[in-house]
Amino acid sequence: MHPILGRAGRLALYLVAWLALCVLVAGIFTRFGLDWTEALALLAPLCLVYAFVCLSAWYVSRAVPLTASGVPRVLVSSVLAAAFASGLWLGLAHAWIAVLGLTTAFAPAAERYARQLPFLFAIGVLLFLLALAVHYVLLAFEAARQAERRQLELEILTRDAELRALRAQIDPHFLYNSLNSISALTGSDAPGARRMCLLLGEFLRTTLDVRARQRIPLADELALAERYLNIEQVRFGSRLQVERRVDPDASACLVPPLLLQPLVENAVTHGIARLLEGGLIRLDISRRNGRLAIVIDNPCDAGATAVRPGGMGLDNVRNRLDAMFGRDARMDAHVEAGHFRVELLLPAGVDPDTIKDTEG
C-alpha cells in the first residue's frame, strides 16, 4: 500500500506541505518579474498536479531500495526519475501558460511566464528529489515497524511453544495414575503414601524449576529422571527395572533441561507398560572426545503394530536439540530385536565454574 496515498491523514499533511512549497516558489517568482497573482495563477494548478506526480516517487524508492542498491545506482536513478517527472511538469506548464495566454487578465504576462520555464524545470527536479527522500524515509520507517512486529510475533510463538511443551511434558494421566497410587497406598501403607506425595511434589517442583533455565548440569537432569522413575516404580512395582551406567565425567556437562525425562517417560509408557512382564530400562551415559553420548534402551512389544514408539516426546527432544546445537547434535531412535533404543550425541559443554570445582 502506498505510504501516503493509503492514509488520509498523511495525504492531507502532504498536500498542506505542497501548498507551502507552492507559496514559497511563487514568492521566488515575484522576484523575477511576476506579481503575486500571476505567480499563483501559474503555480497553484501546476503544484496540485505535480504533488500527485511526485507520489510516484514511491515506485522509484521501492524499485531501487537504499539498502540493497549501491549509492551510484540510487543517485543515477533518482536524478533520471526526477528529470523525467520534471520534464512532464514542464510540458504541463507549457500548456497551462498557453491557456493562461488566452485570458485577457494574464495575456500580458505570457512573455514573462515563458522566461520562467528553465527555472521551473530546476524546481521540478528539486521537488521530485525531495519527495523521493520523503518516500525513502517513510519506507525505512515502515520496515522498522514491520521488523518490530515480526520480532514480537516470534516472541509470542516461542512463548506459545514453551507453554505447549509444558503441557505436553507433564502428562495429566501421569498425575491421575500417581494420585490413584497414592489413594491406594493410604489404605494399606500410609508411610508409602507420604513418600509418594513427596516424590511427586519434588518432581513437579524441579520440572517447573529447570524449565526456566537454558541449560542445566546433566546431574540435575538425571536426578529429575530418577524421581520420575521412582514414582513409576511405585505404580509398576517389579515390572519396572532400571539399570544406569553414568560416566562420572559426564555429570557436569550442560544439557537443555528436560532432555532425558521425556525419553525415560517414553521408555516407561511405550515400552515397559505394554509388556506383560515389564522389563529393564538401560541408561548409559558416557563422555568421550568432547562429546556426550546418551543411550536409553528398553524392551518393547514386538507384536504391537502401527503406533510409532515415541511420538510427541521424541519430536520435542529432537527439535530442541536442533534449535540449540544444530548439526553438532544427533539423535537416533530405532527398534531392533524387540528393543527400542534412543541414542543422543551432543557437544559436551561445561560451565567454566563447574570445571574449576571439579578440577580444584
Binding site: 491406594a184 512395582g237 506383560l276
Partner: protein
C-alpha cells in the same frame, strides 16, 4: 443377590484400591484379580463372575479387546485415567466408566448400576458388541480369538484365508484353524481391502498367499495358494480379485 466380581488392572496398587473399596460393600465378593487381559478372559471362562472392573490401558490386550472377547458373559465397569474412551465405552455397552482416581462412593454407584441392569435381566445385544468392540478407526492389525479360557492373537498378515461356517468364521493361520463367532461380512469390513478380498460367498483371501488362478474340469476358477490349498472363486469374486490385482 451376591455379586461376584473380578478386578482387572495391570497395576497392583490400582487393584488394591478397588479391592479395598469393595471390602466395605455388602453382598459383593471378589473372585479374581487379574494383572492382564489374558488372565481376565481366563477368569471369565473359569469362574464366570458377574462383573468385571476393567482397566483400559493394559499390555497386549486392552480393556476394549477383553470386552470384545467376553462382553456377552459379564457386566463391565471401566476404570481408567483417560477420559477419551468414555463415548466408546458406552457404545460397547459398558455399565459405567470411572476416572482414576475415584472414591468408594463412585464405585458403589457403579455397582448399583450393575445390579440394576442385571435385575432387569437385560441381555446385551450380541452383534453390536462384536462390531463396535473392534478397534475404532482404520483396519484391525490383529484378530482376537477366544478359545475357552485362552486367547489367540492372530496378526492379520499371518492369516491365509477366512472361511464362513454358519454363524462362525474360521481363520486359517500358520497351519492351524481358529473359530470365532462372527459373520464373514462383518469381518470383511475390519480387514484392509488392499490385502484381503472376498473371492467367494464363503471365502476371504489374503492376496499375498495367492500363487495362481486355475480353471478346474468344470471351467470353475480356483485360487491356488502357495501351500497348494485350493479355494473356489465366484464370478463376482474374480471381478474383485482382478480389480485389486490390476489385471
Amino acid at each position: 443377590m451376591r455379586l461376584r466380581i473380578a478386578i482387572v488392572d495391570d497395576e497392583e496398587l490400582a487393584r488394591a484400591v478397588v479391592r479395598e473399596y469393595l471390602t466395605g460393600m455388602p453382598d459383593v465378593e471378589v473372585v479374581a484379580e487379574c494383572a492382564n487381559g489374558f488372565e481376565a478372559v481366563k477368569a471369565v471362562s473359569d469362574l464366570q463372575p458377574d462383573v468385571l472392573i476393567l482397566d483400559v490401558q493394559m499390555p497386549k490386550l486392552n480393556g476394549f479387546e477383553v470386552l470384545e472377547l467376553v462382553g456377552r458373559d459379564v457386566a463391565v465397569v471401566f476404570v481408567t485415567a483417560y477420559d477419551q474412551y468414555a463415548i466408546r465405552a458406552f457404545e460397547v455397552h459398558a455399565v459405567d466408566y470411572l476416572l482414576k482416581p475415584f472414591g468408594a462412593d463412585r464405585l458403589a454407584a457403579a455397582i448399583d448400576r450393575v445390579r440394576e441392569r442385571l435385575g432387569r435381566g437385560e441381555t446385551l445385544p450380541v452383534q453390536p458388541l462384536a462390531k463396535e468392540g473392534s478397534p475404532a478407526p482404520g483396519y484391525t492389525p490383529r484378530i482376537l480369538v477366544r478359545d475357552g479360557p485362552r486367547v489367540h492373537v492372530l496378526p492379520v498378515e499371518k492369516i491365509d484365508y477366512v472361511q464362513a461356517q454358519d454363524d462362525y468364521v474360521c481363520f486359517r493361520c500358520e497351519g492351524r484353524e481358529y473359530l470365532k463367532e462372527q459373520t464373514l461380512g462383518e469381518l470383511e469390513t475390519t480387514l484392509d481391502p488392499a490385502k484381503f478380498v472376498r473371492i467367494h460367498r464363503s471365502f476371504v483371501l489374503n492376496v499375498d498367499r495367492l500363487a495362481r488362478v486355475e480353471l478346474d474340469e468344470r471351467e470353475n476358477r480356483m485360487a491356488i495358494l502357495g501351500d497348494g490349498t485350493r479355494l473356489p472363486i465366484s464370478r463376482a469374486g474374480h471381478a474383485r480379485l482382478t480389480a485389486l490385482l490390476g489385471r
